[in-house]
Amino acid sequence: MARGIKDKVAILGMGCARFGERWDRDADQLMVEAYEEAIADAGIDSSQIDAAWLGVAFDAVNVGPSGIPLSVALRLPNVGVTKVENYCASGTESFRGAVYAVASGAADIALALGVEKLKDTGYGGLPVRTRGTTFDMVGVTGSAPGNFAQLASAYRATHGVGRDDLKRAMAHVSVKSHANGAKNPKAHLRKAVDMDTVLNAPMIAEPLGLFDCCGVSDGAACAIVTTPEIARALGKTDLVTVKALQISTSNGWELQQGGGWNGSYFHTTRIAAAKAYEEAGITNPREQIGLTEVHDCFSITELVTMEDLFLSKEGEGWRDVLDGMFDADGKVPCQIDGGLKCFGHPIGASGLRMIYENYLQLLGRAGERQRRTPPSLALSHNLGGMPSQNVSAVAIVGLADA
């Protein structure tokens, strides 16, 4: 395996727009909102940015093509700006571009920004779109809940878990995230809910009810990265560095190899997580990872992801969830900011929003929702696509000396 980039890149500043139904803002205004916080945090001027990456998933219904919208919105100094799209993992993908640029020495300071304006479609949920001319003839254009709901049927069958047991565990995931989101002023959904509300909600895609699904939001998030040396030279003392950054992409095995994948887990997440732990030098993630932000687009996704990140044993994640292991006061909190579920899910911004929360928590800057003992290593997991075919990104950030 490659040597990796552990501690080669530090986060200089981060920002995040308020997520939600931002009827008053265009995408470029959301970008500026996240950027102004990040650049102030970084303590630099836009002229110091050497390169930038823009993550957007549904560009056709918001910013349009290319990196130009970012360059124009922020009035960047005619540097290279690249737009990246990798389904819902586009945010972490943009972060990867900026981090790699710094790690390689090609840029001293690079910017990553993810944005999504989803509330201009006229309907709830994600925009319906083509997946390519060939796929459209032979594939199933299901909704996102429909694609992810299938995890539940396979998980029940694979691990012999009862329908009601799994539904309760899924509900616990959502109740926990609502409790966390209620404490987050930037979150889209800020109302706590109880188990009965979740369990009795209308069915969206069997067995996912309304509260098993995350919010579809407008929003943006931004990271400015540099080398630890430059960060220190700029006066930063408490440094958060990138410990690992791994992306794994399906090659069709899950979807096409009969009798292979059983449908109950994310093949790519297991690969990305294993590589990330190796890159970061983590041997016992359950003990070493202090905080997680995972891609909880649906409650069942979060549940199986805890297994795929090797935080729970295979087939036992649902028990750990019910035992409160991932609650804000549990052993390894998950979505302490509310997650996609409640902070919201502006696709291109989500991966960066997760890193933003981990960054704040590591530095003890998370306000009312701050983890009592600040973590030293925090993981974010950002997934694009669907269980049968996806892009899984794992980013581990931590205190420089951790």
Binding site: T121, G122, Y123, G125, V128, R129, T130, T133, T134, M137, V138, G139, V140, T141, G142, S143, P145, G146, N147, A149, Q150, L151, A152, S153, A154, R156, A157, M203, I204, A205, E206, L208, N251, G252, W253, L255, Q256, Q257, G258, G259, G260, N262, G263, P387, S388
Partner: protein, 428 residues
């Protein structure tokens, strides 16, 4: 429906022997795109297969059958009839019509029934008509149709035909008159001297009058019930009369079991929601939501390149590893050997499958929500994400046995193009 009838017809038949496909209907989806050509692709018949659409009259199928019988050769022809008529709400057609398709394989060799001759008349009797591009029939008084059309024209053709065919009326064991008007088949039998017990059930109570498909449908039903050595007289009516005389053979007892008319009727599911029926018929303009606005444009070029995968559900099988996959690709999916350029065609449509994952999706647009879909594994290898058809909520689970059916996948309503693909339906 024509594809499903064809697949049933070809049970136990080597498809490589089929020399042609004929499809009779007055309600073909395409006015200018060979509909029988779509059937050919769905059946994965050789490109060297003839095809012909036959239309224009309620007796299109019997006229087609006569031509096929007269021209029968060593390599059989597939004769299909399918009909799906629209009728205005509150019309008589709405009450009596049914949708159906049926098929026969016509050729020499060892057939289940022998062709003993035919008799035809052509007379422009306009009992009803439907002009090109119109949705609905316009019909004349039923008493006139009964007296002059059924009794007069069919009765007359029957008298002349029996003489021409050299058959005694009382020798007929099955008299097939695809006319649902009460008492007409019985009246014709009586007039011609055909035994009353020979009159075939018109399937009015179970299927309804399936128009141009009805003569073939009733013939298939008769063959299902017949014993060797029976004489069958089939009537076709529509601007004239066709009579076809057949005699069943011993081969009937050896015919491979199939679903047939009986099996398909048994497989039916009752739905008493009239408004739902109107909607599916295109007779009720329901709000479908913005998700239904997604452009369904079908590039002709991509369909052409992928016609075997799309219309025939042909996947690939790696000649080196034996790995089966759908769709085919240059580099194989097998993680242990991503062999390149080793795949041969591998038809999956007739393979059984099992459910690996599933959901019932109430969010995605569907004319029949919720949309059931999931991953299925085929027996013998290969898997795909497939929409499910004909499922009931209490009978879908991981491991459920499924079979593939040819269905409408979507419709480009802007450009009037119907898209077909395969769905998985529960076995049984």
């Amino acid at each position: 429906m024509a594809v499903e009838a064809a697949r049933d017809t070809l049970t136990g038949v080597d498809r490589a022997t089929v020399s042609g496909v004929m499809l009779a209907s007055t309600t073909l989806p395409f006015a200018d795109r060979q509909n029988s050509g779509v059937v050919k692709e769905a059946l994965v018949l050789a490109d060297e297969t003839g095809a012909m659409d036959v239309a224009g009259s309620q007796r299109a199928a019997t006229s087609m059958l006569i031509q096929a019988l007269k021209g029968a050769g060593e390599r059989p022809q597939l004769c299909l009839a399918a009909e799906m008529r629209k009728a205005r709400p509150a019309s008589e057609g709405e009450m009596v019509h049914g949708d159906a398709a049926a098929g026969l394989l016509v050729g020499t060799g060892d057939p289940v029934a022998l062709f003993r001759g035919s008799h035809s008349t052509t007379i422009d009797f306009v009992d009803h008509y439907r002009s090109a591009g119109m949705d609905f029939d316009y019909g004349w008084e039923s008493r006139w149709i009964r007296d002059e059309g059924f009794t007069g024209l069919i009765g007359g053709a029957l008298m002349a035909g029996l003489k021409t065919l050299g058959i005694e009326a009382n020798a007929i064991d099955r008299f097939i008159v695809p006319i649902a008007t009460r008492g007409v088949p019985e009246g014709l039998a009586k007039k011609a001297g055909i035994r009353p017990e020979a009159v075939a059930d018109t399937l009015s109570a179970t299927v309804g009058d399936s128009g141009a498909a009805h003569p073939l449908l009733m013939l298939v039903a008769a063959l299902e019930a017949a014993k060797p050595g029976e004489t069958i007289l089939l009537v076709g009516f529509g601007q004239g009369v066709d009579l076809i005389l057949l005699e069943t053979t011993e081969a009937l007892t050896k015919l491979a079991p199939r679903r047939g008319v009986k099996g398909n009727i048994a497989r039916g599911r009752k739905d008493e929601n009239y408004l739902r029926w109107l909607f599916h018929r295109g007779l009720l303009d329901l709000e479908r939501g913005m998700r239904a606005e997604m452009d369904q444009k079908q590039p002709g070029t991509t369909l052409w390149r992928n016609r075997k995968a799309v219309l025939g559900l042909v996947g690939g099988r790696c000649t080196r590893t034996g790995t089966v996959q759908f769709p085919k690709s240059d580099i194989g999916v097998n993680p242990n050997d991503h062999a390149a350029h080793t795949q041969e065609d591998y038809p999956l449509a007739d393979k059984r499958a099992r459910v690996v994952t599933y959901t019932a999706d109430a969010l995605t647009y569907s004319p029949a929500p919720p949309t059931y879909y999931g991953m299925i594994d085929f027996e013998g290898g290969g898997r795909m994400m497939a929409e499910f058809a004909d499922v009931v909520p209490e009978d879908v689970e991981v491991g459920r046995a499924m079979e593939m059916v040819f269905r409408i996948k979507g419709a480009d309503e802007q450009r009037n193009f119907t898209k077909y693909f395969w769905k998985a339906a529960p076995v049984g």
